[in-house]
Amino acid sequence: MKRRDMLTSLGVAIAAAPAARLIANEMQGFPHDMALDQAFMPKPASSDGKYQVLTREIDRRTIAAVFDRLIPEDALGPSATQAGCVTFLDGQLAGAFGMGATLYRAGPKAVGEDALMQKPQFIATPRERYETGLRALEAYAQRTHKASFSDLDAQQQDAILAGMEKGSIELAPEVNTQAFFELMLANAREGYFADPMYGGNKDMAGWKMIGFPGARYDYRLYADRTGEDLGLEPVSLIPKA
């Protein structure tokens, strides 16, 4: 490139160029519309009481039993299912999370991939993992106790869950049992502590248990009161009041 060829367009405003707009996503100046962008609108769980992914009753019974051992009812608060965690899970599995929409899912899944990453990785979506995992868990209970997982007593359920957590039992060859336990634990906690619009954390019970004041956005009135119990009531993202 010669020097005289450089920067020939210097100083000519793009706006003045007669070239037609070629791409939908060209922008100049701020957009006029000030309403909340549709893609950023909160996405509450559907409230019609219908299950979208956990359509099999046996699966719902199994996951409810698991969730209520992970977060049981006691003086500190409701159980996971009482707080709506199964509804929460169904909503999550029906959406982008369940579809693994953000995951890089191209194959092959390399041998030694999990060891290299120090973390299990999946090409299967969370929805698929729940499908196979819950069936395998139920089959395991039938195999070992001749009963549904949800019909086992708490001690028996805890023993299976502890075995899954430690990796001392394998539900089925196609299920990474430890990872499936971690998935259920993560989702139970999410349901218990996420904003109630997602179907769990009913009446903000999870937040009340630990003292989290929720979807507030300004603590300047309180920040100087260091070390004090502020006793702030939690607020949800879309409150009724």
């Binding site: 006029h32 000030m34 956005y217 300004d218 300047r220 993202l237 879309i238 409150p239």
Partner: protein
């Protein structure tokens, strides 16, 4: 995504009533339609053929163009002054005209006299103009300013862009002659007469406010025929979904507590210590007022400060201990205080305070309802370029919650305002086609 511009319904009721009024008023026609003031202008050379070399006149003319805010309405996607800007009215859509010197589609064939007739008398090349074009105010422009404006227009790049201004108007409102009747009732073709005992600065201020600035077009209330109510001059008006506040010396809802300096700062930068321009006022500041000389802005401020206070008493504030106000206090802390301040003090020069904000306390809460529902953007000027956005809340709050929140900010920190009607919020939600609120839990 076409921006909604229904705030520009300046003369939305120009149609029906005016047609009725046109009948039987022939007596007045002579005076109203008299364009003899235009005789000072040349009637031979068309704009497209004019060659003006007086650079000082051209520069002054550009200033008149800024003062009269021509660009705000006559700019559109085809380029500067090419028109086509839609004014959505209940009678159909009016488009602004192409005012570039293009001979076929613009005003290139007009002589200077034609131009004077159009700008000051509302009589264009295709017949009567609709008062969306504020010729009732431009009628006050001096001959000197008009000559300079003509000089400036001669330097504008001619761009062909055919605009069918009233093609989107329904019959009979598409008949321009209807405007003749309206003019007979509400149009004064004469220049401003000096007022005894007033300073030159005051006179200049009045000229800017009433002439090019056409402030009353928005800030005066209008009657059923869409004309400004002279007796309530600058007492505050309604522009589409926005309230244009009282500009009189009223200390509660007007400019009584603002100094002339505050007012000049607001006009120049888009904000002062009590308010920040948004909506239609942001456009006025961005396109027009920020370009005016300090002495002119000071003159406008001096003139506005001289206006006697409107007769609107401060109402009794809503008691802070009601349940609704208590709920709203928490809602304010959760949603609003991050920007508007824990004590309604606003944020820097980018977010308006609520405490002691006169415009906010107006009886007409339309502007506040509008921005709560669909958001808004502050003006962006050379001196205060931020142009911060107010987020929309229609998706989150129902009509009651918005009503309570507005009552809270209009009645806290020393503020006092009449209660907002929930039905007004509901109506505005519909008018603006704002999102319905999501289910709460």
């Amino acid at each position: 995504m076409t921006p909604k511009r229904n705030w520009k319904r300046i003369a939305l009721s120009v149609g029906g009533a005016a047609i009725v009024a046109a009948a039987g008023l022939g007596l007045w026609a002579g005076r109203t339609l008299d364009t003899s003031r235009s005789n000072v202008a040349d009637d031979k050379v068309a704009l497209a053929d004019v060659h003006i070399t007086d650079q000082a006149a051209i520069r002054r003319g550009e200033y008149v163009m800024r003062m009269a805010d021509c660009a705000a309405c006559h700019n559109a996607s085809a380029g500067v002054f090419t028109g086509g800007y839609p004014f959505e009215t209940d009678f159909g859509t009016i488009l602004s005209s192409n005012i570039t010197p293009d001979r076929q589609t613009g005003i290139g064939a007009m002589t200077e006299r034609d131009f004077f007739n159009a700008v000051r008398h509302g009589q264009g090349s295709k017949g009567f103009l609709y008062p969306a074009m504020p010729y009732t105010a431009y009628a006050k422009l001096t001959d000197a300013d008009m000559h300079d404006l003509w000089a400036y227009m001669s330097t504008v790049q001619p761009i062909p862009n055919k605009v069918d201004e009233n093609g989107g108007m329904a019959f009979p409102f598409n008949i321009r002659l209807a405007m003749a009747g309206w003019n007979m009732l509400f149009y004064d073709r004469l220049p401003i007469a000096p007022t005894a005992g007033k300073s030159a600065e005051w006179e200049r201020g009045r000229y800017l406010v009433d002439g090019g600035g056409h402030c009353s077009a928005c800030h005066s209330p209008r009657n059923l025929l869409g004309a400004e109510k002279a007796s309530l001059y600058l007492h505050g008006g309604r522009v589409g979904s926005w309230h244009a506040p009282d500009l009189t010396g009223n200390p509660h809802v007007g400019l009584g507590k603002s100094s002339a300096q505050d007012i000049a700062e607001y006009l120049k930068t888009g904000g002062d210590k009590t308010a920040i321009a948004a909506g239609p006022m942001a456009e006025a500041v961005e396109h027009s007022l920020q370009y005016l000389a300090d002495r002119d802005l000071n003159a406008m401020a001096v003139y506005l400060k001289s206006l006697p206070a409107s007769d609107k008493p401060r109402p009794q504030p809503i008691a802070a201990d009601s349940q609704a106000m208590q709920r709203a206090a928490l809602r304010y802390e959760v949603n609003c205080s991050a920007c508007h301040g824990v004590r309604g003090e606003g944020m820097g020069n980018m977010v308006p305070p609520f405490a002691n904000n006169q415009g906010l306390q107006s009886d007409d809460a339309s502007s506040a309802i509008t921005v709560m529902l669909v958001g808004g953007r502050a003006s962006s000027t050379r001196l205060k370029p931020t142009g911060a956005g107010m987020p929309s809340f229609s998706w989150k709050m129902d009509d009651r919650q918005i009503t309570e929140t507005l009552d809270y900010v209009r009645n806290s920190w020393g503020n006092a305002a009449i209660p907002v009607r929930e039905s007004d919020v509901a109506k505005m939600r519909k008018t603006l086609d704002a999102t319905k609120n999501l289910p709460a839990n």
